[in-house]
């Protein structure tokens, strides 16, 4: 038998259901691995003693921010009882780790920010609750960019996340901890959130599979808000098949807690995985292959498209003419919403409060200046500016108009094709620190993931090869609203004829 962490989620699930493995055994195995990959400053995020973290600075990818071994094992023991008494649920005993943007009762929740160091939520996010209701065992919380703002996971207050394929490179962001943890086999699955590409881009950079469903599919209740009209949760795992199983458990209406939740039942997203792709029209937007796309990524993406053709798909040239505008539109709307969403972190009710202050204004200023990192402060300032009297019409209103046009462009495109395919990012993962002092070049790297986010469409990343420095490349698939099944079908069939998703860091092909 393979090592536990080499099993796919499906294989692990089978081994548990047939009691070849116990949930406790599985949890202990993963906890041991997770402990070696906690972030360098996890003790600050979680309030845990450094000795409990057993941190291995050497070789840690910095994915985990907090663990709660007692809780994890208690959950695992409960799963074992159920497994032994014939009450097992769909994902009984299968471990998962959560991006630290989801609030949890049993682990601290920091959103990667100093302002929430050690914060404990009195409730679980709906997504977290749904997954534990499906029998999953929570391993811990995963590093991310502060309040999910970033594309490199270099904006966490608790240290960077290293890319498991090359520890000198970024893991991508903002769900960098989730992507690295799955790639490194620290967990069979993780939750992520995607506001402008935060599931797809790190999945691509770390060589795993991740899907962001249609906006409203997964409840945002308990997901610390960055940009409310864009934020969407999704699963990150090794294969499309695993993602489908996880997505079915995560989604579903939550209209009594989240007004933007779609009042639609979840689906069995695995039902159509093996559908024939014969005649399926794959739209290839020419704007996604324009200059700026590096050759290695272009080649890997092109090979994937060729493989899809061999599976019976038909390639159709389409246009998404506002693709470039999605960058300014996103970097107006997301900061605008963020500037307001983050106002509640004011030192009054919870979280960090500055030590010395003369009056209320100084308390606010010092708390927020000391508690928020530079990128968060930058976006709050941009957001406050674009919402200000006299600038609102020129920026916010204009951006909303273009956002609608971007959605319209997609609908036009979907009259010619069923699924859109292209690169996730213009390059493979770059070196740590390479762009950290250049926010603009970071923003520009989001160009291919932003359009689907702005339109609220489902999108995913599927490993499709390796580029410069033997770094993974992801193929992006974008579907029309509620067409997650179709995306997963294409991805699964592609994974049936490719083995990129089976590669492991440290033992590259």
């Amino acid at each position: 038998m393979n090592a536990i962490h080499d099993l796919s989620l499906k294989a692990l699930c089978n081994a548990l259901q047939t009691q070849q493995l116990s949930a406790r055994e599985v949890a202990l195995h993963y906890l041991d691995r997770a402990r070696q990959h906690t972030s360098s400053q996890a003790h600050l995020a979680s309030g845990m003693a450094t000795t409990d973290l057993n941190k291995a600075d050497q070789g840690s990818c910095g994915a985990f921010l907090s663990l709660n071994e007692a809780h994890t094992l208690a959950q695992a023991d409960l799963s074992d009882q159920r497994l032994q008494t014939g009450q097992a649920r769909a994902l009984e005993g299968v471990p998962i780790a959560h991006k630290d943007i989801f609030v949890t009762q049993d682990f601290p929740t920091t959103a990667g920010s100093k302002i929430l160091a050690g914060y404990r939520s009195p409730f679980d996010a709906t997504v977290v609750r749904r997954l534990s209701d499906a029998g999953m065992v929570s391993l811990g919380k995963l590093n991310c960019d502060e309040f999910a703002m970033g594309s490199a996971n270099e904006n966490s207050a608790y240290g960077v996340v290293h890319n498991p394929w090359d520890m000198t490179r970024i893991a991508g962001g903002s769900s960098g901890g989730s992507a690295a943890a799955v790639a490194m086999g620290l967990t069979p699955a993780a939750t992520g959130t995607d506001t402008g590409g935060s599931i797809r881009q790190p999945a691509s950079f770390c060589g795993i599979t991740g899907i962001k469903p249609t906006y409203g599919r997964a409840s945002r209740y308990g997901m610390i808000a960055y940009a409310s009209s864009l934020d969407q949760a999704g699963p990150m795992a090794r294969t499309a098949e695993d993602c489908a199983t996880l997505l079915s458990a995560m989604c579903g209406p939550d209209i009594e807690r989240d007004s933007t939740s779609l009042d639609l039942p979840s689906e069995d997203f695995s039902a159509y995985l093996n559908n024939d792709l014969q005649g399926l029209r794959i739209g290839v937007p020419k704007e996604f292959f324009a200059k700026g796309l590096s050759d290695d990524v272009r080649q890997a993406t092109q090979s994937a498209l060729d493989a899809l053709v061999r599976l019976g798909c038909q390639l159709v040239d389409i246009e998404l003419p506002k693709t470039e505008l999605s960058i300014p539109v996103y970097y107006i709307l997301a900061p605008a919403e963020a500037s307001s969403n983050l106002s509640r972190f004011d030192g009054v009710k919870f979280g960090y409060r500055t030590k010395d202050y003369k009056d209320l204004d100084e308390m606010y200023q010092k708390t927020r200046s000391e508690g928020f990192g530079p990128e968060v402060q930058r976006r709050i300032m941009v957001g406050a500016y674009v919402l200000s009297h006299g600038y609102y019409d020129a920026y916010y209103v204009q951006a909303q108009k273009i956002r609608r046009m971007i959605s319209d462009d997609f609908q036009r495109a979907f009259s010619h094709c069923d699924v859109i395919a292209g690169p996730v990012a213009p390059t493979v993962a770059w070196k740590l620190g390479e762009k950290s002092n250049d926010p603009l070049s970071n923003y520009l790297a989001d160009i291919f993931t932003l359009p689907a986010s702005l339109a609220g469409l489902p999108g995913m990343s599927v490993p499709c090869g390796f580029g410069e420095g033997q770094m993974p490349v992801g193929l992006q698939l974008i579907g029309n609203y509620l067409k997650e099944s179709q995306l997963l079908n294409v991805a699964h069939r592609y994974q049936g004829v490719s083995d990129w998703h089976l590669q492991r860091p440290g033992s590259p092909a």
């Binding site: 409730f123 940009a227 409310s228 009209s229 007004s259 307001s340 509640r344 919870f350 919402l387």
Partner: protein, 499 residues
């Protein structure tokens, strides 16, 4: 154009007063506008604030449908337009009792647009136009008194649903403003969307006050915040008007400002001027989809509402023939209108019921600090009394005597329709109040009165009508008020003609 603008405005030292109102009415819902926490008043601090009200990370607002229905009811009551689609916006500012750092309110598109409120000021009907009414959440409370070098925050009130009702600047005096506020208070309590408790802050008025010389453009306004009693409202506006006029006469300019009224000094004091007005960075709340109110929903809400005061008043005029003034007065509150309608339904003439209610009964109720729903004299009893006036059993004078007896007579209180007439007739009998309809007895009295008052008779002969009335009075007095005044008139005239 409203009647408020067409009527000549009272001028003060040559200045016209212009007043507009913004009223925050706390809506009667069990739970908060965006959370499921209770809205009950008076609980221990921070015991009625849930995770959403505390703005804990990850929480989201979900619209309370009942609050929307309260707004729809108000829109229907004032003849406003219910927006099919309205938007919730975020008003961003930092304050410790504002947990999210923004207040969810309606900015560009409110749920109710337009409408009007009409009322009587003396005999004159006034109409104040409404600009809008919008839904929003209340903030918590900062408690500065109970702490040293610290402030306490109570978030029980945070998220309480409010309907903010905004008028055009249609009022021209403090009296008119108070009359408007009273009428608005009547409407919201009548339809039950607000408990109207001003001490607990359920009905808070802000008055925008400016002055100008007639014909000039609107002057610069100052906003008096949080007027929570009708008495203070009048005092505050009167003070503010005098202050503004003095400033202008002294050659100063009025600077737009928000002011507070201090009931102890009777003065208004500036809290902040427009220069330090906050930048609220309004934008549509992405957590809340637009509020869609279908016409079917409006109809459903309407079908559940009782008859509105203004419709009731109109009906009293059109079908019962009451003067507009009476109709308006009788629809002051639901108890009064119900009392009136019950009495009329038992056969009492509408105008007589109105006169007795607004006269004798109101006077007695006011003195006893009672309302019509706790009136010792039931509507059937009043109806029984009026029926006996209508059939000439009682003169007005003896009816008053009867009422006085019934008021204090325990056996005559709280009577149902079935028992009222019997009891009233029994008391009439006991007191011997039955009008004298026996002309021979009356003729005897008339003869005695004429014989005893020769001077008056002489004056009548000389053409002095006043002397005739004096004789009528004498006859009525001699009959102990039981004579029918019409008979007295006729018989006296006939008798005098023979002399």
């Amino acid at each position: 154009m409203s009647s408020a603008n067409t009527n000549a405005s009272p001028l003060i030292e040559g200045f016209e007063v212009v007043i507009g109102f913004e009223t925050h009415t706390q809506l009667t819902t069990q739970s908060k506008i965006f959370s499921r926490a209770s809205t009950a008043f008076g609980a221990e601090a921070n015991t009625q604030a849930c995770a959403v009200d505390l703005a804990l990370p990850g929480t989201l607002p979900v619209m309370n449908k009942t609050a929307v229905e309260r707004a729809i009811e108000f829109g229907l009551a004032v003849g406003g337009e219910i927006s099919e689609r309205s938007i919730f916006a975020r008003k961003n500012y930092f304050y410790p009792d504002l947990p999210k750092g923004y207040q969810i309110s309606q900015f560009e598109i409110p749920v109710v647009v337009g409408g009007e409120v009409s009322f009587f000021l003396g005999d004159t009907q006034k109409t104040v136009r409404l600009v809008r009414a919008h839904l929003e959440e209340d903030a918590g409370k900062s408690l500065h008194e109970d702490f040293v070098n610290q402030s306490g925050i109570d978030l029980n009130r945070a998220g309480t649903p409010l309907l903010e009702i905004v008028t055009e600047p249609d009022m021209r005096s403090s009296a008119e403003a108070v009359a408007y506020a009273k009428e608005l208070h009547k409407i919201v309590t009548w339809i039950g969307i607000c408990d109207g408790n001003m001490q607990e802050g359920s009905f808070r008025c802000d008055a925008n006050v400016s002055v100008r010389r007639p014909g000039e453009a609107l002057g610069t306004r100052r906003e008096i915040k949080n007027l929570n009693s009708f008495k203070f409202m009048q005092q505050a506006i009167d003070y503010e008007v005098r202050w503004q006029i003095e400033q202008i006469l002294d050659g100063h300019k009025i600077i737009q400002a928000t002011v507070l009224f201090n009931p102890e000094t009777g003065e208004t004091r500036s809290m902040r001027t427009k220069e330090d007005a906050a930048e609220y960075r309004y934008f549509p709340d992405p957590d809340l989809p637009p509020l869609e109110v279908s016409r079917a929903w409006v109809q459903e809400v309407k079908s559940r509402m009782g008859e509105l005061p203004r419709d009731k008043a109109a009906r009293f005029v059109s079908t019962l023939g009451l003067p507009q003034y009476d109709a308006s007065a009788l629809t002051q509150n639901q108890a009064m209108a119900n009392y009136f309608e019950q009495a009329v339904s038992l056969g009492a003439q509408a105008k007589l019921v109105s006169n007795w209610m607004m006269g004798e009964l109101s006077r007695r109720l006011n003195a006893a600090h009672l309302d019509f729903d706790s009136c010792p004299l039931s509507a059937p009893t009043l109806a029984a009394l009026i029926v006996r006036i209508m059939d000439s059993t009682l003169s007005n004078h003896s009816a008053k005597t009867l009422l006085e007896t019934l008021w204090d007579d325990e056996a005559s209180q709280g009577l149902e329709a079935s028992a009222a007439q019997t009891q009233v007739d029994k008391v009439i009998e006991r007191l011997g109040l039955k009008q004298m309809n026996d002309t021979s007895a009356l003729e005897g009295i008339i003869e005695q009165v004429i014989a005893a008052n020769p001077d008056n008779v002489a004056q009548i002969k000389a053409g002095k009508d006043k002397a005739f009335n004096a004789l009528v009075g004498q006859v009525m007095k001699a009959s102990k008020g039981k004579a029918n005044p019409k008979d007295v008139n006729d018989l006296l005239q006939a008798k005098l003609a023979t002399l």
